[in-house]
Amino acid sequence: MEKENIILRAENITKRFAGVTALDDVSIDVYAGKVNVIVGENGAGKSTLMKILSGVYPDYEGELLLHGEEVKFSNPKEAMKSGIAIIHQELNLIPYLSITANIYLGREIVDSFGMLDFKKMNQVTKELLARLDCDVPPTTLVSELRVGQQQQVEIAKALLEDAKVLIMDEPTSAITDAEVEVLFRIIESLKKQKVSILYISHKLDELFEIADRFIGLRDGKMVGTIENIVEANKDDLIRLMVGRDIDNHYVKEKSPLGEEVFRAEGIYLPKPTGKSEFLVNDVSFSVRKGEVLGIFGLMGAGRTELLETVFGLHSKLMVGNIYIDGQKVIIKSVMDAVAKGMGLVPENRKEDGLVLEMPVFKNISMASVEQTLKNGFLNLGLEIGLAKKYITDLNIKTPSPRQKVKNLSGGNQQKVVLSKWLATTPKILFLDEPTRGIDVNAKNEIYHLISNLAKEGLGVLVVSSELPEIMAICDRIIVMGESRITGEFSQKEATEDKIMNAAIL
């Protein structure tokens, strides 16, 4: 491509954090009017690079050229003024402020008295939300929105000012397919206005739908680009990211199914507010030993609530019966659930799965610390031994069991959460979006792990929003929509169409 099409250029960027070199002499070009996709494994440095481009990290080595001229941003506001906007990987919203207040945060419109001009701001917000097909009043508090809607607010925030460069760091990790469609439509129209997009995602399928070119990062280094998108395929992309081939067409091996290990019957979870509204509405299902049961649904279908409910988190509101090994059990709390042999890998590992400041070994022993007691006291040797076993078994990449878990990459953190539950020798494991935000390589490892667990006789329940994933790894798939079960398919009969039809109702 011609030189004048390069709108933004990063030259020889190096960024170090205490102990880690996140970016090592990285140079990339961003083309105008194109979707420039950055690919790389977890921890490759994608988000770090984006934060440098958008002024979040003002101290780095190397230089940024915008329209060929050197720029240096000391904060995100300056980058924004120069036309670079970003949607961050993590949601960055203020829960108790309205949508409008969030969208205008830091660039409010004031009247001649210096007072906030609510009317004008609400008006513009309304138009923006309409563009995103999001039908929520602009004065709604963000805390009252679903995660997907919050993600849309983030997108609207980035669209507010007419940016020349728009960075999207995993914008689709929490929105529904319909919302993804809207986003892609917007991206197309932005491209027509010569806006350049920097796009990051671990969902390889959608990349091919939207990308114009790929830039690969690996271990903080630029490893190459794919400019000719038409001739590239998934394997080329994976090679760019991982540096070798990976069998990406994972299909679960059949393993013999045993007895029924878990059954839920007539589970209801009323909304705390309304009387006749339910977050989980008359759901029944069962899992056998060695079986991987998938639960598919669009965002907000109530899958997380279902798992939480049977796991004892909402015992006061819940209605329904639970059987383990054919025996009826009463689950009044998470403690009961754990004692009865259940484990839950939550959707959001950083917030609900890990104590980030604690070392790996303490996180692994968290739910089963009894087994490392000696004479009633914790025994460090036993505890580290336990951790080492899982570090080897699950191939967790950590310099030592004493490493703080916050220093591990996403995939390895997820494996630590898995280890925590495996250490309790559970009978049934619930996995809520086990591969969200995880790179293709780690994903693969987790698929194999799930399959091995099933082989060893565990019952596994996987919630996922990714159709290909759920079709590849599950023996049976339940589909949920609007809080109830809307379909059930064996692996053989499942097709994308059938499942989607069931999910949409």
Partner: protein, 322 residues
Amino acid sequence: MNIKTTVIKFQSIIALFILCVVLALLSDKFLTPENGWNIMRQISINVCISVGMTLVILTRGIDLSVGSILAFSGAVAAGLLKYGIDIPSLNLYIGFTVFGAILGGILVGGGLGLFNGWMITRFKVPPFVATLAMLTIARGATMLWTGGFPITGLGEHFAFIGTGWFLGMPMPVWITIIVVAIAVIVTRSTKFGRYVYAIGGNESAARLSGLNINKIKIWVYALAGILAAVGGIILTSRLDSAQPNAGFSYELDSIAAVVIGGTSLSGGRGSIMGTVQGALIIGVLNSGLVLLNVSPFWQQIIKGFVILIAVILDRVNHPNED
């Protein structure tokens, strides 16, 4: 809006109303105009301080030093007014008008608040600790400045601030109403106010939106200091005397008013009007317990339980937040 949400929204007002009805039934002296002005005048200082405290708590901070700053600023204003600045060795003497002395007190209060904010933002000292240190430091400074003695005889002009009436309303009540009015406008309708909520709601998101977190926080603590100073000047004027021990444990009263008023200690949620209601509940309770001739020992116990009940009500109505 259905009945339930209305109840939730006005819960402090409702609590206040119930309290007033009960007291009016129990004592015929409660519902008199003088008693009304009394309560208003009594809470005026706590309201001034608590407005600043509300801002601080909205940013997820806390300010334990307000009582000490109040004492020091009051003493500074009184000292400047009475003695001026007199350094014989330099042959320096500066006299102060009432206005100048008040300004001096307020500047000192703002300065100490600034120091709090500086420690908290520049050195990342947790607000609890930074203001705990200031609590001690400002108390010591007050003792040094006054030599441990009250400064009295401040004149009629100065006394007017705390004891005078203007257009049928006591001066402290005027000052407080003005402070509250400004604070309501600032929190609701200015960028600064919005940023205060944003920082408390999610500091890292606020930073990524390009807000100058440090500057806003420093301002918030400086304002808390200034408002403590305003309280100190009202108090000194009411008593016609700057007491070295003034303001002792006011921080707890103030935090109680803020929390009873529904502002969350974890930041980002709350309002100035809520705080005013909280201070009113405490003031009405204080005055009511006295009117009902409750023993001072029991008063403490009852007040403790009222705080608990007020906050439990708030929790019941906002169960999902922490």
